[in-house]
Amino acid sequence: MGGANRSPFVTGWMWAGFAFLYIPILSLVIFSFNSNKLVTVWAGFSTKWYVALMQNRQILDAAWLSLKVGLANATIAVILGTLVALCLARFGPFRGRALLSGLATAPLVMPEVITGLSLLLLFVAMEQALGWPAGRGVLTIIIAHATFSMAYVAVVVQSRLTGMDPSIEEAAMDLGAKPAKVFFVITLPIIAPALVSGWLLAFTLSLDDLVIASFVSGPGASTLPMVIYSKVRLGLSPEINALATLLVVIVALGVITAGILMAHQERVRQRDIQLAIAGNK
């Protein structure tokens, strides 16, 4: 990398950048081990807030609910988003294509407040007219999350489909596979990486969402961000620091695992290229 003879000025700025990004998170981690009930005053090391967190039914229930909502939402969003992406990428020009494309991607640019409010109005109106969904709760949060995370999945999957050589599907059909089989045996495995990243994106969006969930949630269905936000409004609790630290650890582990896997894949790919060159005689 040639880092040895880089000027101290550049190195200095690099560390300043790291500090700007990570000091807030670091201070949060440090204060999660603070024994003092006052969050900002250090009084010695303690893990008691982690113990308290594990006994806090409200937070644990909210975390469990957020996980369930995230899982359901991501799965629904991937199915619907893939269908939209297929329509846009494979069906050629059809009437209403521009409308579908616009509607599918609208949630990307729509302010969350508006998405939340409009969905709330819809759910209330539907309950009055159809009697479904009865009240607001987990189901309405899942529906609301799926509508907007579907848009992200559609964008990710569509770009993968557009980047895929269409003659691969034609070749499968040419060899005797019917369209449905072509989709499941050829297209799906090839776009699988996009489906996985779309799923993770949808899951993260759902786990992270506060605004829309606040609009469409009902009594007894509070997601984790909603609980944290309401707790912070009543004053900072060190328990939240402990919870946030746990989340940071989980995310960091995920990122490190992904990094190792990708580095491994890159090594395999490089070896394959060498192999191909060696075979090219």
Partner: protein, 381 residues
Amino acid sequence: MTEGKHPEAPVSEPWKDPHATPYIRIQNVTKKFGDFTAVNNVSLNIYQQELFCLLGGSGCGKSTLLRMLAGFEEPDGGQLFIDGQDMAGIPPYQRPVNMMFQSYALFPHMTVQDNVAFGLKQDNTPKSELWERVKAMLEMVKLGSFASRKPHQLSGGQRQRVALARSLIKQPKLLLLDEPLGALDKKLRESTQFELMNIQEKLGVTFVVVTHDQEEAMTLSTRIGVMNAGQIVQVGTPTEIYEFPTSRFVADFIGSVNMFQGRIVDEDNDYVRISSDEAGCTIFINHGVAAPPSAALAVALRPEKIVISREAPADTTENCTHGVVEGIAYMGDVSVYNVRLHTGKLAKVTQPNLVRHADTINWDDHVYLHWHAASGIVLTV
């Protein structure tokens, strides 16, 4: 060129036999994309065991025609018969046709043997027979030791052979090849060309090849169909296309050519004299021409059929002009001379370099160009 290798095989020029049944019958086929007519009223017969090349520049409709044979596009007008069966409304997966794609279109997530086996799996071929056939096919394309590799672990030439094996595994009666050698380097192309011809003879498959490369078309095919702007402008054997082009387009497209504008001054059943201001001489051609007298026409002269010399030939009255050498390109086996004729027109002449230390023609030399009475091609369209 196939009959030369197999003297025992019947003379294979079925297109000359009026009673022969064509394997592919294309009748007045038209295909439009919006306002653009990709294929315009094309009619063509292709016979069994032919290696037919569709040759043309990009956008001439050759690929669209091929895709209609495969079933990926439906004609807007006209009919398409394969083996006597009307192909209208028959989807690609039910046609007795396989295709080798320009991009090879290998399934990236499957190994080489799974790629090749795919076609047979769709027919529910029994397991033991299936793998036996896949193995034999991989041996034939010399990829036996690469069976469990993935496509990205192969070089370009190996991928191309996998694509070929995959399209041949179902033993189709008709194989369509879209620019089969396009992505290969020159050495590999040449060896693959001959490999393709061998396979075609061995398996007796009818090949329809799309290409923009005239050299590829010349070496591979039994017949060539030259396409331009959605239409077939000439169909013939490589020799016919090269030596007897019927239009300025074909003469110009295949190989290089000197085109001299002129008009008929004297003609009879067995000769014609054309006066050309561009050539700066009278061109005598030793066969008759079906053109109205004094019609404006062009005489095409291939660069290798013109003789270049510093000394004037014996007869300078006809088929002889002169000029100054403006450029020489030495290609090893031949040299290409650009000669500025005394009329101002630039002529191209190629001469084989027969002698190693020849007293060669140089820049700015004054030279005579002359040619045989059979060399000129008269073109009226």
